[in-house]
Amino acid sequence: MKIDDKRSFWILPLAALFFLVLPFITPYKALASQMLIFGIFAIGYDILFGYTGLLSFGHAAYFGLGAYGAGLSLVHLSVPTLPALLIGVIISVLFALGIGYLSIRRRGIYFAMVTMAFAQMIYFIVFKWRSLTGGSDGLQGVPRPNVGPINLSSELTLYYFILFFFMISVFLGIRIIHSPFGKAIECLRENEDRARSVGFNPTRFKLMSFVISASFAGLAGGLYALLQNFVPLHALNLDTSGDIVLITLVGGKGTLYGPILAAMVILFLKDLLTSYINIWPLFLGLFFVISVMTFRRGIFKELKEKLLKF
């Protein structure tokens, strides 16, 4: 995503303006915050799925662990906001290291299934450990301590706080993709054997990619805990894992901006549809099917192609 002609020059300021006014356009401010959070989640996931070519069906685990990690520190340890977010990320990363190490050795569908199995195990542990996590009730009463002079109790302020992290995530995502590491994982995705013959250690790169994507998920999770003032067990659910896969695929895997846009659009649509129509799972399923069948490269890649033809 380089700035290579006059038209793309306008993208950056327009995007900035869009994000600045987003909370005023969405039906309620918390929705805008949610869109950003899933955008962050999607960036990390695209690095793993789109750029490295690894389909993880259990990424809700890292999102959830980030949320519970941050939430528990806020509730039980009374740490300030920023350290709590950091703790969330660290916990996600630690688990990703362990699980990634065990899962990476397998490819394709087996990799997906192992990640799913581990995610289910984590779900089960969190569910059973009711005294610590609240079990199926979720972790209630997560506070939003002030960050220095910034009071986060207003939804609007929280949005801009999250926007800050969103911008950092986007920046990091782009830097990672354009770095030598980024090239290496793309090379891995295309042809692992050839990558190995050129001297890359596939296992090490895959693991790094896995951990990096988990860290984004963990950050998103921690921010989610702040937004909701509680951590629902559903964050660790298979549904949530499925959601992020859908978002990335529909947006266009391997583009970074595609999944971000898809995250926002899908969240918005979900909210809209549930308010007005009660049979929205039907539409979601239909949408899924249509996206997979037609927008194989992702909606936004297709749109971009069409737009660039002007």
Binding site: L102, I109, Y110, M113, L282, F288, V289, V292, M293
Partner: protein, 292 residues
């Protein structure tokens, strides 16, 4: 240690295992021959149950007729899905079909919810199979015995078909090397469609059998779906023998979990699956070629 009781539970685990075998046969046939991870499996299972309800309760036909006809209907639905959607994605990486079938599953479930209503339908064991047999150490419902017999019969049938018949050989050839098989004049697209239909029919049949013992509601397939995948992976995706053995093992594992520490029961199979995948990803009897 009440041995009678433990024996009764273990025997019951065999029945649970049979249900898993029935469930996973459809899944493994499709994956083994087409490489498609069929998420609609759960929805087809549910359709089988609903078809049975429609035939027996709404249309007043005999349960035996439902067993014979409903799987065929579900098989035809499977064929329809395959020709319309799934075959278009064979050339793409496998996760496209995985996601496609995922979406189709949601769609089918919601359609049924709209047509029949979300709370489910009453369906009980048909009169002629009701009643129990006194085995000494437990009272075994006749219907459960019926499940074991049907599953055994079916498993044997499917295995013989794939392994011993000419059509089965064609299917195996088509999977192992579709280009060569095509060059030899075998109609690959038609073979694939047939296999998908067969797998769908097996899922539907599992639903027919389950209807009397499970709550017939639109999401009834979802819960079994993940467990069915676990069974198939442990057994080895694509191996019928593997699915049979693994289904029985999983049934017993869950039962043992229930005897000793119930909350752990379902997680036990996930742990087992993870262990198998890490140590021997092809499963107990799968073929190494796929995805290792």
């Amino acid at each position: 240690m009440d041995y009678n009781f433990i024996f009764a539970q273990l025997f019951n685990g065999l029945i649970l295992g049979s249900i898993y075998v029935l469930l996973s046969l459809g899944l493994t046939v499709i994956f083994g021959t087409l490489g498609v991870v069929n998420f609609t499996h759960g929805a087809l299972y549910m359709l089988g149950a609903y078809a049975t309800y429609t035939f027996v309760t709404l249309l007043n036909l005999h349960f035996i007729i439902a067993i014979l006809i409903c799987p065929i209907i579900i098989g035809l639905i499977g064929i329809f899905l395959e020709r319309l959607l799934i075959r278009k994605l064979y050339k793409l990486p496998h996760f496209y079909n995985l996601l496609l079938t995922f979406g189709i599953m949601f769609f089918i479930q919601d359609v049924i919810k709209i047509v029949y209503g979300p709370e489910g339908e009453p369906f009980n064991i048909p009169r002629f199979l009701d009643g129990s047999i006194n085995l000494g150490f437990m009272l075994l419902p006749q219907y459960r015995l019926f499940i074991i017999l049907i599953t055994g019969f079916l498993a044997l049938g499917v295995w013989l078909f794939i392994d011993k018949t000419k059509l089965g050989a064609i299917i195996r050839a088509g999977t192992d090397d579709s280009e060569m098989a095509d060059a030899l004049g075998i109609n690959i697209p038609r073979t694939f469609t047939l296999v998908f239909g067969m797998g769908a029919a097996l899922s539907g049949l599992a639903g027919v059998i389950a209807a009397p013992v499970q709550d017939v509601q639109p999401l009834m397939g979802m819960n079994f779906l993940v467990e069915a995948f676990v069974v198939v992976i442990i057994g080895g995706m694509g191996s019928i023998k593997g699915s049979i053995i693994s289904g029985l093992i999983v049934g017993e594992l869950i039962t043992i979990g229930i005897i000793f520490w119930p909350p752990l029961a379902t997680t036990l199979i996930y742990i087992f699956m993870a262990i198998v995948l890490i140590i021997r990803p092809r499963g107990l009897m799968g073929r190494a070629a796929f995805f290792e």
